[in-house]
């Protein structure tokens, strides 16, 4: 290595000239030929050339973010390098540059004449050279919670503080939650682990992870989040974006709307764009040939604000998943957790965001288990007061917390005999308190929910709409069938208004599918038929917003009807209409009768009896007169 280092140091002048010309892009043809000869024959020359260009490359890298070098410190004249060729450095030229001697003379303070020269020279200098540019700052660090922030310059060991300006570049949030305020007017809440590239005041690229963005009022629209699959352009809204390890992008719009633009890399142009309405969520694949799908809107999925303090672990536990897919290798996660449970608040955050490790562990050692179980039991005890303090407010948050507690209990019961007693005690307490609170809560809220659902249909405020969605989620998970009529009402209203209001039918139909029984099928079929007929009444030549929305609804219908009637007809019966890239579809007319038949059979089957069936009078035949 020493030889190499020495050889590289001895780079001859001719090669330097040629390398320099290459940096400047001023190589002549003959110079290029000469350079190639040298490189071809001499390995040392090759390395020297590369080393010279590497300097140019590193300067370019620094220049990308705005400042190559701090210009504050005075030059250390004594330490100035002398080139091997012996020429004085820096050599003076036509008078702009000062030779060493002259500068010392000026700064040493001189005669009046000299001072005048100094003044002139300084003025000249100021006129000729612009001050170094600020790095291109793109955003301000608003607030961070428990963050570990890594930047591509790799030398940054200091973590940002509130008010710090952040320059363009690639960054990684390894841990915690951060808020970035972009100069273009958007507030972005970023969750770890995420890799993001800040491009300018109006643009960022989410390479992996999750963020929520909200445009401040009175700011121009157009803030864009680029992802590998699709570019999301803000039209005055609040929305969330997730990019997972399968390069899928999930976009969920809270308020206002966004345009999802598909860019063809080959031609680097926007090929088509899809508008996403409020309270809807869409998943995009990385290749243009797979159309986007609507997915259920999850109100709690994104962190829309950066909290001030780290919430207790059970509130974090109620927060939604960070990633779209499951982690089959969760053992490693929990091992790490077991090791760190004593120490950091970070562990609480991690514990909250991993949702199913406890059901997948196979090889914890006994000592790791010993460390883990008591800590988990302690956490469970901490949870009790939260769940017990329900009063009139049984919220989705607490609901999920209890869900998480159940998982922990499963784990404990499975792994440790001592845990089983604990689990039974918990179970007793939980089922009694759950019944009590649930019935009290529903009694209070039913009317509210019905009104919220109606309000949603009639364009009520955003908050009311969210409440309606929450209601749907809870109804589905707690099997509250009393909301079914209201849900059906929403569906029928939406269809009669030709899908023009801002209702996400995917969520509603998903809920209906899970709450209802086969007896519901004859009520749903006419609605699905009607929507399908509207869909087929005109053939779209290109992208059509109304066809796209109806396609989402029809897919949701098919999934719900399959579920209710116990069939798997959806895939085969959905056919593409219009250009395939847009994913617009319709249902094959024949499938409706198949659903009716299957449902009739199921409803009459004594094995298949749901709670709502029991309320029917005996001997009443299932509705088989489907239209």
């Amino acid at each position: 290595m020493n030889d190499v280092v020495q050889n590289v140091a001895k780079m001859p002048d001719e090669l330097r000239d040629l390398a320099d010309a290459a940096c400047n892009g001023t190589l002549s043809v003959s110079q290029r030929d000469r350079l190639e000869d040298i490189i071809r024959q001499d390995e040392a020359a090759r390395l020297a050339y590369l080393a010279y260009l590497d300097i140019h490359a590193q300067l370019s890298w620094e220049g990308r973010s705005g400042t190559v070098v701090e210009c504050g410190a005075a030059a250390d004249l004594a330490a100035m390098p002398v080139p091997a060729t012996g020429a004085p450095f820096p050599a003076s030229t036509s008078g702009q540059e000062s030779a060493r001697g002259r500068r010392v003379f000026w700064w040493a303070g001189a005669t009046v004449v000299a001072a005048a020269v100094l003044l002139v020279a300084v003025t000249v200098l100021q006129q000729k050279w612009q001050p170094p540019r600020e790095p291109e700052y793109v955003a301000v660090w608003g607030r961070g919670l428990d963050t570990v922030w890594q930047d591509c310059h790799a030398s940054l060991t200091r973590q940002p503080s509130p008010g710090d300006e952040i320059a363009a570049g690639v960054y990684r949030l390894e841990q915690g939650i951060a808020r970035l305020d972009f100069h273009g007017g958007a507030e972005v809440t970023l969750e770890a682990p995420s890799t993001i590239e800040l491009i300018d005041g109006q643009t960022a690229r989410l390479l992996s992870g999750q963020l929520a963005a909200r445009l401040r009022p009175q700011q121009p629209a157009g803030f864009t989040i680029c992802t590998p699959a699709v570019n999301v352009v803000d039209r005055g809204t609040e929305f969330g974006v997730t990019v997972n390890s399968e390069r899928q992008t999930l976009v969920q719009v809270f308020e206002g709307h966004v345009d999802a633009e598909f860019v063809d890399d080959e031609v680097e142009k926007t090929v088509h764009s899809r508008r996403i309405w409020p309270l809807t969520a869409m998943r995009f694949e990385n290749d243009l040939s797979t159309p986007a799908r609507q997915v259920p809107f999850e109100p709690l999925k994104f962190r829309r604000h950066c909290p001030e303090v780290l919430p207790p672990w059970f509130e974090i536990a109620a927060a939604p998943l960070v990633s779209l897919d499951h982690d089959p290798n969760a053992t490693a996660h929990v091992k790490a957790l077991a090791a760190s449970l004593e120490t950091a608040p970070a562990s609480a955050l991690q514990l909250g965001t991993i949702y199913e490790p406890f059901t997948e562990l196979n090889d914890l050692t006994q000592s790791e288990l010993n460390a883990l179980v008591p800590a988990l039991l302690q956490m469970l005890d901490d949870t009790r007061p939260l769940i017990a303090a329900t009063g009139a407010g049984y919220s989705p948050v607490r609901f999920r917390v209890a869900d998480r507690a159940d998982l922990v209990l499963q784990f404990i019961a499975g792994m440790s005999p001592a845990g089983e007693d604990r689990r039974q005690a918990w179970e007793q307490w939980w089922s009694s308190s759950r019944e009590k609170t649930r019935s009290a809560w529903f009694a209070d809220r039913q009317e509210d929910f019905r009104r919220a659902l109606e309000g949603w249909r009639n364009g009520a405020s955003y908050e009311k709409c969210l409440e309606a969605l929450n209601a749907i989620e809870i109804a589905a998970r707690t099997n509250d069938q009393t909301l079914l009529p209201a849900l059906l009402d929403v569906v029928s209203g939406e269809i009669s208004q030709a899908h023009q209001t801002e209702v996400s039918l995917a969520a509603v139909l998903d809920c209906i599918g899970r709450l209802g029984t086969a007896k519901l099928v004859p009520e749903l079929i006419p609605l699905a038929r009607r929507s399908n007929r509207d869909q087929l009444s005109s053939v779209p030549g290109g992208y059509s917003e109304s066809h796209a929305r109806r396609s989402d609804a029809l897919r949701a219908f098919a999934a719900a009807l399959d579920r209710l009637s116990g069939t798997t007809l959806a895939d085969a019966s959905l056919t593409t209409i219009g250009p395939s890239a847009y994913g617009m579809c319709a249902l094959d007319e024949n499938v409706f009768d198949q659903w009716l038949q299957a449902a009739a059979k199921r409803a009459g089957d004594p094995v298949y009896r749901s709670p709502s069936d029991r309320t029917d009078a005996e001997g009443r035949s299932p509705a088989s007169d489907g239209q």
Binding site: A9, Q96, R172, P193
Partner: protein, 201 residues
């Protein structure tokens, strides 16, 4: 709501022996995804320098860099973690460079494919040397005179051509080139000396 498949659980009285919830269909490891993110960010500088050493024109280098980065994320799961990240990333950059040379007809005189392949190979083989040199560069930059730093700053941060820089400072382009030549050579030697000093010190 896709994950609410367990929603029914709350009705049943006994939980303990309930079937284990399947881990889901995705076979891609999200932990690997995270690790990839780390490697990506840490290697940005090296990747850029690799590209810019081979294609010195800053605008071209930038474009190639962006293209390479995008490809890295689009094909991240093809990266084998037992390999060196940088080798893989530079391989992808190399492909983009090859395509670029094929398509682009630029007036600029460029080195031939054959030579570029030689350079690329030499670069990968002696990566450590270049990393050491880069570390030394920061110290050498500090030793530049203010007016030299200003020139470097001016030429390397703005999108102006040398001609523009020359015009706005009342100099000929040639004069600027000469000065850059001197500064770069000075930096080169300073870095070389640092390495030699380090080797013996």
């Amino acid at each position: 709501m896709a994950k609410h498949k367990k929603g029914d659980k709350h009705q049943s009285a006994s939980i303990g022996s309930a079937a284990r919830v399947p881990a889901g269909g995705a076979s891609v490891d999200s932990k690997r995804h995270e690790e990839f993110g780390e490697l990506f960010v840490r290697n940005q500088n090296r990747l850029y320098r690799y590209i810019c050493s081979v294609i010195p024109n800053r605008a071209d280098a930038e474009e190639l860099f962006q293209q390479t980065n995008l490809t890295l994320w689009k094909t991240w799961d093809r990266f084998d973690p037992s390999r060196r990240f940088l080798s893989w990333a530079c391989g992808i950059a190399h492909n983009h460079i090859r395509n670029f040379l094929r398509k682009k007809q630029t007036k600029q005189v460029m080195l031939s494919q054959e030579i570029l392949e030689q350079l690329i190979e030499a670069r990968m083989e002696h990566d450590d040397l270049f990393e050491q040199r880069k570390q030394a560069l920061a110290g050498c930059l500090e030793k530049l005179a203010p007016h030299q730093r200003q020139l470097i700053d001016r030429c390397y941060t703005s999108d102006d051509t040398i001609k523009d820089t020359a015009n706005s400072s009342g100099q000929t382009p040639n004069a600027i080139y000469k000065r850059l030549r001197r500064i770069r050579a000075a930096l080169y030697d300073c870095v070389s000396r640092s390495l030699l000093a380090g080797a013996h010190g």
